[in-house]
């Protein structure tokens, strides 16, 4: 919403500066977006007298002018190329150092074909006043030399633009803005009252509202009036100047009047050329297949949800949004029908959205215009038409009824203190409300407040508190320390999952992984490849095809990101993300997953080639190490953890595993990505990843105290025995480790695999797995015989469980 300071002063008696106005607007909730101070911009331009204009000695098309700037200095020499430069004329002078907006340059003292020039005589184009650059501005003989040109020409009016929130339809008219400013103490409201305009004879065109009871709200009231014998043409300069200043293009007087009242009072109007209207007007639903060529020159296909104004010709206007070209007013218009109507905000918003029309009328009607100003608005427009275009007005006709929006709200003054902390005298609050147009009845602690017709947004006492608070100024609300709920040390607040999420991020970062935040949505094909693709998780209006489906896994986003980094010359990347994945559109379908992905040689220990070793590409064990490190950091006991060979479909079946505490307690997976997946995503490996669903991890057992279990240390030396077993290639090493440990649970405290061998020495389809078993005696040193007995038991157990033989 734009307006000029002088226009505001039509409604507000004030000597406030533009800065005061802007500061106050911000303070009361009408946010200033821009202030354009034209007076400052045009300050160097003065009205000047061309004392002489003589032919330039060295150029046919140039003249050397001596210019009297009226400032008591000797005439200034200016070289001018304008054909109309002549001795004795009055024009506009800009001295060296002036910024010329039309040319985007700053003037300097220059020498043109050997003659010095110390300024410029300006064209209207150079001042961005019009497209006219045929010659310099030619002012009347009586133009006051030495005076600022902007003030003389009336182009020094500062323009203020404010952002109006959706609840403040009343501030979409300058009168409404003035009312707010007056209430805030910036001046006295002086908006002139609208006098009734007598008419001669009834309006010859009638209006009917073709709505049934339940649709009556679409157009509650429609007022219409004819003015005969008008003379339409360009509107007066003052009106054109105001419209131009706020960015509107003057069309003709009749149209300009409607635009003027739209901004002056927030009351959109429409004018029909009465001679182009056939028969009477009917306000009705549009019909399927109907089209209208609107005033913006575009044709719109209508549907029955939309409301139109039609005559015997068909649709003449899209109600409350934009008029039709056919019955629009132009210079030939002699009889004009002026419309002032009320429309349903919701329907206007929907129609405007569907048709893609953004108009000043729609903008106001969808926020709600003042119903009580429907008929006065028509009178105001009629008077302006009579004043500017002449003619003779008919009486007004009104179809429908103006809704009565009066309502009384009980307002306890104490509510202001309760909600804001502001302690104000009751008279102050009453005064503020009354200044804003509210009627306040009663004298006690609780009064009855009746909102004005232009404030449809006021529903209850909280709204009244806001009115009082914003006019008082939020800066005057004292900040009050917010007490703790208990006078105590702050208690921990994070949930288990929140703590685990935080810890997971720090742990993975400490393993050399870089945290990424990737889109929650991925492409449809990718979603399908990674266990998703449920149509219920596909966006109806995705912003791009590759951002269409809610992600079922974090792997594809990270894999894509890794490839993009590789394409930029960073092939060895280690990325992780801890974020949400979606299994359904229900809240329970959303879980938090920690996922890390390594590419190239981006291993935890180091990346790339190194002087003391080769650059080893990442493999499944890098992913496993990340997963196990995370479980360890999160304190998840891994005693019962099963590492089941083979993972979800997007992993290499022979180089992946599922992490679970049981078939129904899967917590994640790790592995190398499946070659088919790499091909489908058009990315290159090696690429390994792990995924761990943090929601699926078991919660720690509740303990009554923070005591750690008693530490039992043995007084006896541990000893280690090595065993090399030959087993079938398919036997899982973990089985050997598990069996060895199970051979004597009291003595065996650790089993590690220190060598794995496949080759001719063990035969086809076999492998050798060498383990080191640590025995920890607790009550006495073991004898050789006892050690032998345990060793034999270990060999027997492993053989029994895995078919292993001790390697000879």
């Amino acid at each position: 919403m734009k307006f000029t300071l002088s226009w505001l002063k039509d409604h507000l008696d004030t000597d406030a500066t533009v800065q005061d106005v802007a500061d106050t607007l911000n303070r009361i909730g009408l946010e200033v977006e821009a202030v354009e101070d034209k007076a400052a911009l045009f300050a160097p331009y003065v009205i000047a007298h061309v004392v002489s204009a003589e032919q330039h000695p060295n150029a046919d098309r140039l003249r050397v002018c001596m210019v009297d700037t009226g400032r008591g200095e000797p005439p200034v020499q200016v070289v001018c190329g304008a054909p109309n430069a002549r001795t004795g004329m009055k024009s506009v002078f800009a001295p060296a150092g002036t910024y010329i907006p039309g040319k985007g340059i700053t003037l300097t003292v220059g020498t043109i074909r050997g003659v010095e020039s110390r300024g410029m005589l300006c064209s209207a184009f150079e001042l961005e006043l019009s497209d006219d650059h045929e010659g310099i501005i030619d002012l009347p003989e009586d133009a006051p030399v030495g005076q600022p040109f902007a003030a003389y020409a009336g182009i020094d009016d500062p323009v203020i633009e404010i952002a109006v929130t959706p609840n403040r339809a009343d501030a979409l008219g300058i009168a409404g803005i003035a009312r707010d400013l007056a209430a805030a103490g910036l001046g006295r409201l002086k908006t002139p009252a609208v006098a009734a305009v007598p008419g001669k004879g009834p309006c010859p065109v009638s209006v009917s509202l073709a709505f049934t009871g339940e649709d009556a709200h679409l157009c509650p009231a429609f007022a219409l009036r004819l003015v005969r014998g008008v003379k339409n043409g360009p509107s007066p300069a003052w009106l054109q100047r105001r419209l131009k200043a706020i960015g509107l293009r003057p069309i003709n007087a009749l149209v300009d009047i409607t635009n003027y009242i739209t901004f002056d009072r927030g009351r959109p109007l429409h004018v029909f050329d009465a001679k182009k209207v056939t028969g009477n007007l009917v306000v009705r639903h549009a019909r399927d297949g109907e089209e209208v060529l609107a005033l913006d020159g575009r044709s719109y296909a209508l549907d029955p949800s939309m409301v139109v104004i039609a005559d015997d010709n068909g649709v003449e206007s899209i109600g409350g949004i934009m008029g039709g070209e056919h019955s629009g007013c132009d210079e030939t218009t002699t009889d004009v029908l002026i419309e002032s109507a009320l429309w349903d905000p919701l329907n206007i918003a929907q129609t405007g959205r569907k048709l893609g029309i953004v108009s000043d009328a729609r903008y106001r009607f969808e926020r709600g215009v003042d119903p009580a100003f429907c008929e006065p608005g028509l009178a105001l427009a009629t008077q302006m038409v009579l004043d500017l275009c002449g003619g003779e007005a008919s009486e007004a006709t009104l179809a429908g009824t103006i809704p009565d929006t009066r309502r009384a709200l009980a307002f306890p003054y104490a509510e202001v203190k309760r909600l804001t902390g502001l302690d104000l005298p009751a008279e102050t609050m009453r005064g503020t409300l009354e200044a804003l147009g509210f009627l306040v009845a009663g004298t006690g602690d609780v009064v009855e407040v009746m909102p004005p017709s232009w404030r449809a947004d006021i529903e209850g006492k909280a709204d009244l508190v806001e009115e009082v608070m914003r006019i008082t100024g939020l800066d005057n609300v004292p900040a009050v320390p917010f007490p703790r709920l208990e006078a105590a040390v702050a208690k921990p607040v994070l949930t288990l999952l929140q703590k685990r999420t935080r810890l997971a991020k720090r742990t993975l970062a400490a393993r050399g992984l870089v945290e990424a935040v990737t889109w929650s949505f991925i492409g449809k094909a990718e979603a399908g490849l990674f266990g998703g693709g449920d149509p219920r998780l596909a966006l109806a209006n995705p912003i791009a095809p590759e951002l269409s489906d809610m992600r079922p896994s974090l792997v594809p986003g990270l894999a894509r990101a890794a490839q993009k980094n590789a394409d930029r010359g960073h092939p060895d990347v280690a990325l992780f993300e801890v974020g949400q994945v979606f299994a359904s559109d229900e809240p329970e379908g959303q879980t938090i997953v920690a996922c890390a992905l390594r590419r190239g040689t981006a291993r935890a220990e180091g990346v790339g080639r190194r002087w003391d070793g080769e650059a080893k590409p990442v493999d499944v064990f890098d992913a496993k190490a990340d997963a196990m490190a995370l479980l360890a950091a999160l304190g998840i006991p891994t005693g019962g953890l099963q590492i089941v060979p083979g993972g979800p479909d997007w992993y290499h079946p022979g180089r992946s595993a599922t992490l679970q505490f049981g078939p129904k307690a899967v917590i994640g997976a790790f592995g190398e990505l499946h070659p088919r997946i790499l091909k489908a995503l058009d990315i290159k490996g090696p690429l390994v990843a792990f995924e761990l669903t943090l929601d699926a991890l078991p919660a720690p057992k509740a303990k009554p105290t923070k005591m750690k279990p008693k530490l039992a240390l043995s007084d006896f030396q541990p000893l280690t025995r090595d065993f090399a077993f030959v087993v079938d290639r398919e036997v899982a090493a973990a089985e050997i480790v598990k069996s060895a440990g199970a051979a004597d649970r009291n003595l065996v405290t650790d089993v590690t695999v220190f060598d794995v061998y496949e080759g001719p020495h063990v035969g086809e389809g076999k492998k050798s797995v060498a383990i080191a078993v640590t025995l920890q005696p607790t009550d006495k040193t073991l004898t050789d015989a006892e050690i032998e007995a345990v060793s034999a038991k270990i060999v027997e157990q492993v053989a029994k469980k895995t078919g292993a033989t001790l390697r000879g």
């Binding site: 909280a462 702050a490 935040v517 219920r536 966006l539 949400q580």
Partner: protein, 360 residues
């Protein structure tokens, strides 16, 4: 009888000439070994008369002691030499560069870091962290928050929709974190003090907008909290978060469907050379929206607005991260470019705390 001084000269000379420990050992054996020249002399002492022994004993023992000492001295020297040779041989080029270790390479994303900072500040004020689903119903995202159907404020949200279900209802990707206010108020009894960080979505994409971004919302519900408390919390938050002693804030009345009264908050700053500094200057930067929870929202959550009251505020996590740490653009936050992440990310163990300071 050997001439002792001659033998001594010979032996001392041999010790001095021994080039390594083996040669020295050979000299030692030749002198002090079982059959050594000095040992042989010592053996003669037994056969001597007491007078002879009194005369020769000190000479021979003296010879033994001096040879021993010479050998020990020479041995020490040779060991020293050998060690020096070994050390010289073992020398490596310690300027050879290491590969960067994991702690050096790893990074925390600025969004995670800022959420941890927010958590540290607000946990101290007794706020817990509330969360909710990204896929929301129209009820939680709009209706319960007092957005009337068709209201222009709904339009301004650029909502992502999911397909309609059997009843024709479309779920949405939450356009703000405010639906979690509703879930919190429906799920727990006042007093409520929560902050709600999370992902939010709007189908809008340009230089300054991404279809996904992060918000943090605060909510307080009890029987006495008012705008004055809200102002204090936000001022304290801004000082703590931006790590400055003073901030100047400007509260402008505004409009949100779910708060009444509502305000937007600007923070005073200076911009010099592309750097934003808070607590000085004369520019204003909008950072958040806030207000008293609208009576209709309280009612929608089963709370009597005449009994309960409270306030809420919301701001962009990405935005305040940019303001504090100086990232010029929003889009790279979500592009996973390791160059950007390594530069703007945080070291793995830079855990923000109030005790140690939010940032190091």
């Amino acid at each position: 009888m050997t001439d002792i001084p001659t033998l001594e000269r010979t032996l001392i000379g041999a010790v001095a000439a021994a080039a390594d420990e083996a040669a020295l050992e050979a000299v030692r054996v030749s002198a002090l070994g079982k059959k050594g020249s000095v040992s042989e002399l010592l053996k003669t002492l037994g056969a001597m008369t007491p007078e002879e022994r009194r005369e020769k004993g000190p000479l021979i023992n003296g010879l033994r002691d001096r040879v021993n000492a010479a050998i020990a001295e020479r041995k020490a020297k040779l060991e020293e030499k050998a060690l020096a040779a070994r050390l010289a041989a073992e020398r490596v080029d310690v300027t050879l560069p290491l590969q960067e270790g994991p702690q050096t390479r790893g990074r925390i994303h600025p969004i995670s870091q800022v959420i941890d900072e927010l958590t540290a500040i607000f946990a101290d004020m007794g706020f817990s962290i509330a969360e909710g689903p990204d896929i929301e119903t129209d009820f939680y995202n709009f209706t319960a928050l007092n957005f009337p159907a068709g209201h222009p404020a709904r339009d301004m949200h650029d909502t992502f929709f999911l397909p309609p279900d059997d009843n024709g209802e479309r779920k949405v990707l939450r356009t703000h974190t405010s639906p979690v206010q509703i879930r919190t108020m429906l799920g727990q009894k006042p007093p409520i003090r929560v902050i709600i960080p999370g992902r939010t979505y709007r189908c809008d994409s340009d230089q300054t907008h991404t279809p996904m971004f992060h918000q943090v919302e605060g909510l307080v519900i009890d029987k006495s909290s008012h705008i004055g408390h809200l102002k204090w919390i936000l001022e304290e938050f801004c000082k703590a978060f931006f790590e400055v002693d003073q901030v100047k804030m400007r509260f402008r009345p505004s409009f949100f469907p779910f708060t009444e009264p509502s305000a937007e908050v600007d923070i005073q700053c200076s911009r010099k050379g592309g750097e934003i500094r808070f607590g000085e200057g004369d520019d204003w930067l909008e950072i958040l929206g806030c207000g008293m929870v609208h009576p209709n929202v309280l009612r929608n959550c089963g709370l009597d607005p005449d009994e309960y009251q409270g306030f809420a505020w919301g701001m962009g996590i990405d935005r305040i991260a940019m303001l504090k740490y100086g990232m010029p653009d929003l889009r790279p936050f979500f592009e996973a470019d390791v160059r950007w992440l390594s530069h703007y990310g945080f070291r793995p163990l830079d855990l923000p705390t109030l005790a140690g300071g939010l940032s190091s």
